[in-house]
C-alpha cells in the first residue's frame, strides 16, 4: 500500500529524466518572425489548422509553432519539465483542470472571456472552445434489420435480446489505457447507475476494448464491431467515411467533453497568448462562430440531455490515486468477466 501510494505521488510530483515525446510538430507563418506563439496541443494538426490560419491571417508578422503530444506527454512537458509554451490545448479536461488547479496556468480576462457561458470558463484559467459528445457509433450494414438504439436502455435491451448477434462485436474504451475513456466512464457513472449495468451487459458479451476512438470507428467500419460505445463524436463526424456508420447521441444523457485552452504561468509571450485565446473563443462561441467540430453534430437539438462535464475541482476526484484504483477495480470486475 505504502509503496503504491508513493509511486503514484511520484507521478504527480516528481518526473522522468527524459524529455517529453512530441508526436508531431508544425510551423506556420514567416520562419524568421520574432513573434512566435508556441502551442502545445493534444489535437491533430489538421484538426487545429483552420484556427491557426485564421489567426495568422491578420498578423503577417507572427509565427506559430504547433506541437502535438499525448495528454500524458503534455502533462510531463508542463509539470515536470516546465517547458515554455504560450498556449496549452487539451481534450483531457481532468488533467487540464489539475494543471490550472496546481497553479500552472495564469489567469486571463478579456471581452471574449467575459462573454463566455459559465460552463465554458473556470477561474479565468481554462477556456472551453469545443463541445464534443460521447456517441454510440453503429454499423450501418450490421443494423439493417435492427432498430437503432436511442438510449442506453435501448442499447441494454438490444444487447440482451440479441446476445448472439452482438457477442464480441461490441466495443468501448479501455479506461485503463485511455484518459478520455476514463473521463467519459467516470462522468457516466456520475450521471447514472445505468453505466454499470451497461458495462456488465457488455462484459457478458465479451466486449472489445480499445485505446482510442479512431480504432473503434475503424473496427465498426470493418465489421469487427456492430456497436462502439462512448466514441468521441467529433472524431466520428469529421471522418470522410462518416456515411458508413450511424452516430447516435443517447437521449437519456449525452456526456459532453469540453476541449480547453489555457495560458501556462511561464508563457514567454503571454500577451500574444491572450490574443490567441480571444481569437479561439471568438471563432468557437462568437456570433460568426466557425466551430472546429462539424456543425452537423447539432448539440442544440439534444440540449436537455446534454451532460457537459463540469470543469472544476470535481474532476480532481477521479484523478485521486485511491479513487482511481477503486474505480478501475470496479470497472474491471464489470467488464472482464471471463
Amino acid at each position: 500500500m505504502r509503496q503504491f501510494a508513493l509511486s503514484l505521488a511520484l507521478i504527480f510530483t516528481a518526473g522522468w529524466s527524459c524529455a517529453f515525446e512530441a508526436e508531431d510538430v508544425a510551423s506556420f507563418g514567416p520562419s524568421d518572425s520574432k513573434q512566435v506563439l508556441r502551442i502545445l496541443s493534444t489535437a491533430d494538426i489538421d484538426f487545429f489548422k483552420p484556427m491557426i490560419l485564421s489567426f495568422l491571417a491578420s498578423r503577417p508578422e507572427t509565427a506559430i509553432d504547433y506541437t502535438v503530444a499525448s495528454s500524458t506527454e503534455l502533462q510531463k512537458a508542463i509539470v515536470e519539465e516546465g517547458q515554455a509554451f504560450d498556449v496549452v490545448v487539451s481534450s483531457a479536461m481532468d488533467l487540464q483542470t489539475k494543471l490550472a488547479n496546481d497553479g500552472l496556468a495564469q489567469r486571463y480576462k478579456s471581452e471574449a472571456t467575459g462573454s463566455l457561458p459559465e460552463w465554458a470558463v473556470w477561474n479565468d484559467m481554462l477556456f472551453a472552445f469545443t463541445q464534443e459528445p460521447a456517441a454510440i457509433v453503429v454499423s450501418k450494414t450490421g443494423f439493417k434489420d435492427i432498430p437503432l438504439p436511442n438510449s442506453r436502455n435501448d442499447l441494454i435491451n438490444l444487447l440482451r435480446q440479441h446476445p448472439e448477434i452482438f457477442r464480441s462485436r461490441v466495443g468501448t474504451y479501455d479506461v485503463r489505457q485511455s484518459g478520455l475513456g476514463y473521463l467519459f466512464a467516470t462522468q457516466d457513472t456520475r450521471a447514472s447507475e445505468i453505466y454499470w449495468r451497461l458495462m456488465e451487459v457488455m462484459g457478458g458479451l465479451d466486449a472489445q476494448l480499445y485505446c482510442c476512438s479512431s480504432d473503434m470507428i475503424d473496427a465498426v467500419k470493418s465489421g469487427d464491431l456492430l456497436i462502439a460505445y462512448n466514441v468521441l463524436g467529433s472524431y466520428a463526424i469529421n471522418r470522410e467515411d462518416r456515411e458508413d456508420f450511424h452516430i447516435i447521441l443517447p437521449t437519456d444523457f449525452t456526456t459532453v467533453m469540453l476541449r480547453t485552452a489555457m495560458i501556462p504561468s511561464n508563457a514567454p509571450s503571454a500577451e500574444l497568448s491572450g490574443e490567441f485565446i480571444d481569437h479561439l473563443l471568438d471563432m468557437s462561441h462568437g456570433l460568426d462562430a466557425v466551430p472546429l467540430t462539424s456543425a452537423e453534430l447539432d448539440l442544440s437539438r439534444v440540449e436537455p440531455s446534454l451532460n457537459r462535464i463540469k470543469i472544476g475541482p470535481g474532476l480532481l476526484v477521479f484523478l485521486d490515486q485511491l479513487k482511481r484504483r477503486s474505480f478501475l477495480l470496479e470497472w474491471e470486475s464489470a467488464i472482464l468477466q471471463n
Binding site: 473556470w122 456520475r190 480532481l316
Partner: protein, 458 residues
C-alpha cells in the same frame, strides 16, 4: 467702530465636534459591520471546508487492515459550486501521506475530531485549510486518519469586497445622516445667539435698555453681563454729558464774572492806560472763553457723532434759524446777512450737529469779514447732494492753506487779530464727514471765501 476680532465660531466648533463624533461612530460602525460580516463569511467558508473534509473522512473504509478512501465527487465539487476555486486536499494516515497534495500545510487536527482551520499560502495563492481526523485501527495498531481540504479565496474575496462595500455604504450613510443632523443641531443651538444679536443690533444707538427676552440658561450669564455693561455704559454716557456741561459751567462762570467786572471798570475809568489794559484783558478773556467753548463743543460733537442719531432735517429751515441766530452779532459789525435756498431740501442727520457746523462757519465768516460787508448763505440742490455755501466778502483764504485749514487748531495767517481758536472748521468738517458729505473750501472769484457743506441726499 472697529469690528471685533473673530476667533473661531461656535457653530463651526459645534458642527466640527458633531461631525468628528459622527465620523468616529461611522468608522466604528464600518469596522463592526466589517468584522462581524468577515467573521460570518469566514465561518461559512470554514463550515463548507469542514463539511468537505468530513465527507472524505466519512468515505474512508478499512478493508483488510488497509485504508480505502473513496473520495466522494461532491467533496471537491461542492467547494467550487458558487465561485471558481482552486481546491486542494491531502489524506494522511497518521504521518503517512496517502493521497492528494503531499505538501499541503495542515493545522494540527484536534484529536477529538473537531475541525481545525488554518490560513496559509499554497501553490502561489492564499488558501483556507480545514482538517478533520478520526481514530482508526489498522493492522499496525491504533492510528488516526487525517483529511485536509483547502480552497482558494476568490469567492471569499468577492464576498469580502461586497461586505466592504456594504460596510462603507452603511458607514457613509450613517455619516451623511449625522452631517444632516449636525447641521440642524448646530443651527438650532446657535439660534438663540442669532436672535439676541438681531435684537441688540436692531436697537438705536441710544437704546441701552436691558435685554428682557428669555434666553437659554447657558446664555443667562452672557446676557446678564451685557445688561450690566449697558447699564454702566449708560451711566458713563450720562456722566460724560454731565461732565462736559459741568466743565463748561466751571470755566465760563468765572470768565463771565471777570469779563463783566472788567467791562464795568473800563466803562467808568478815565485813565486811558487803564482802559487800554482792560480792553486787552477783555480781549484775552474772549479769546480763551471762545477756545474753551469750542473745545467743549468739539467734545460734545465728538460724543454725539459716536452715537449719531439720524433724523430728517429741513435744511432751509435750519439755515434760516442759524442766520437769524447770528444776525444780531453780524449787525454789530454792520454786516448784512442773507439766506437763499430751495425748499424741500431734506437730508438725514443730527440737527444739532448740523446746525452747530453751520453756526461755526457763519461765526467764522462774521468774525473775519470787515465791517459793512455782506455774507450770503446759499442752499442749492444738485443731482444727489445738497450744498450749503457760506460766501463772504472778507479777505478769503491764502491759496496755500486751503487744504490744511480744517485741521484742528490751525488758524488762517491773516486772521491773527480775530478772536478764535480755529476749531470751527474742524468741527464743521467732522460733522459733515460723519454725515457722509464733504467740506469744500475755496475763494470766490470776486474775492472773499466760500465754505460749502455738501450733504448727500437720502
Amino acid at each position: 467702530m472697529s469690528k471685533p476680532a473673530a476667533h473661531g465660531s461656535i457653530r463651526r466648533r459645534l458642527l466640527l465636534s458633531l461631525l468628528a463624533g459622527a465620523a468616529v461612530l461611522a468608522f466604528v460602525v464600518y469596522f463592526v459591520v466589517q468584522t462581524v460580516a468577515r467573521q460570518v463569511a469566514q465561518e461559512s467558508q470554514d463550515n463548507v471546508l469542514a463539511a468537505s473534509a468530513q465527507s472524505i473522512l466519512d468515505g474512508a473504509r478499512l478493508s483488510g487492515g488497509e485504508v480505502n478512501v473513496d473520495l466522494p465527487y461532491s467533496a471537491l465539487s461542492m467547494l467550487d459550486s458558487i465561485s471558481d476555486e482552486r481546491v486542494f486536499y491531502a489524506i494522511h494516515l497518521e504521518h503517512e501521506f496517502l493521497s492528494g497534495y503531499a505538501d499541503l500545510p495542515a493545522p494540527e487536527g484536534d484529536p477529538s475530531g473537531a475541525p481545525a482551520f488554518l490560513s496559509a499560502e499554497f501553490l502561489g495563492e492564499d488558501v483556507r485549510i480545514a482538517s478533520v481526523r478520526r481514530r482508526v485501527s489498522t493492522g499496525a495498531g491504533r492510528s488516526y486518519l487525517k483529511v485536509s481540504v483547502a480552497q482558494t479565496l476568490s469567492g471569499q474575496k468577492l464576498v469580502l469586497s461586497r461586505i466592504s462595500r456594504i460596510s462603507i455604504t452603511i458607514g457613509a450613510g450613517f455619516f451623511l445622516i449625522s452631517v444632516f443632523m449636525a447641521g440642524i443641531i448646530s443651527g438650532s443651538a446657535i439660534r438663540p445667539l442669532d436672535r439676541l444679536t438681531a435684537s441688540v443690533s436692531r436697537r438705536g444707538p441710544k437704546d441701552l435698555r436691558p435685554v428682557a427676552a428669555p434666553v437659554p440658561t447657558e446664555m443667562v450669564p452672557l446676557v446678564a453681563s451685557l445688561n450690566s455693561f449697558m447699564r454702566r455704559l449708560q451711566q458713563s454716557l450720562l456722566r460724560s454729558e454731565d461732565f462736559i456741561a459741568e466743565a463748561a459751567h466751571r470755566v465760563r462762570t468765572p470768565l463771565a464774572i471777570v469779563r463783566t467786572k472788567a467791562e464795568v471798570i473800563q466803562r467808568v475809568s478815565d485813565d486811558p492806560e487803564t482802559r487800554k489794559a482792560l480792553k486787552e484783558m477783555i480781549h484775552a478773556i474772549d479769546d480763551s472763553s471762545r477756545t474753551a467753548g469750542q473745545l467743549l463743543d468739539h467734545a460734545m460733537v465728538t460724543f454725539r457723532l459716536d452715537h449719531l442719531v439720524l433724523e430728517e432735517i429741513n435744511l432751509l429751515h435750519l439755515v434760516h434759524d442759524t442766520v437769524e441766530r447770528l444776525r444780531p452779532t453780524s449787525e454789530l459789525k454792520d454786516i448784512t446777512m442773507q439766506a437763499f435756498g430751495e425748499q424741500d431740501s431734506v437730508i438725514k442727520g443730527d440737527p444739532i450737529l448740523v446746525q452747530n457746523a453751520l453756526h461755526n462757519l457763519l461765526d467764522n465768516a462774521v468774525k473775519y469779514s470787515p465791517a459793512g460787508s455782506q455774507i450770503d448763505v446759499v442752499l442749492a440742490l444738485n443731482q444727489n447732494e445738497a450744498e450749503v455755501c457760506v460766501k463772504d466778502t472778507g479777505p478769503g483764504f491764502p491759496a496755500d492753506e486751503l487744504d490744511s485749514l480744517p485741521k484742528r487748531f490751525v488758524r488762517g495767517k491773516n486772521a491773527e487779530a480775530v478772536v478764535g481758536s480755529g476749531l470751527g472748521l474742524t468741527i464743521a468738517k467732522e460733522v459733515i464727514t460723519a454725515h457722509g458729505g464733504t467740506l469744500k473750501i475755496s475763494n470766490n472769484p470776486g474775492g472773499g471765501a466760500c465754505v460749502s457743506l455738501l450733504f448727500p441726499l437720502p
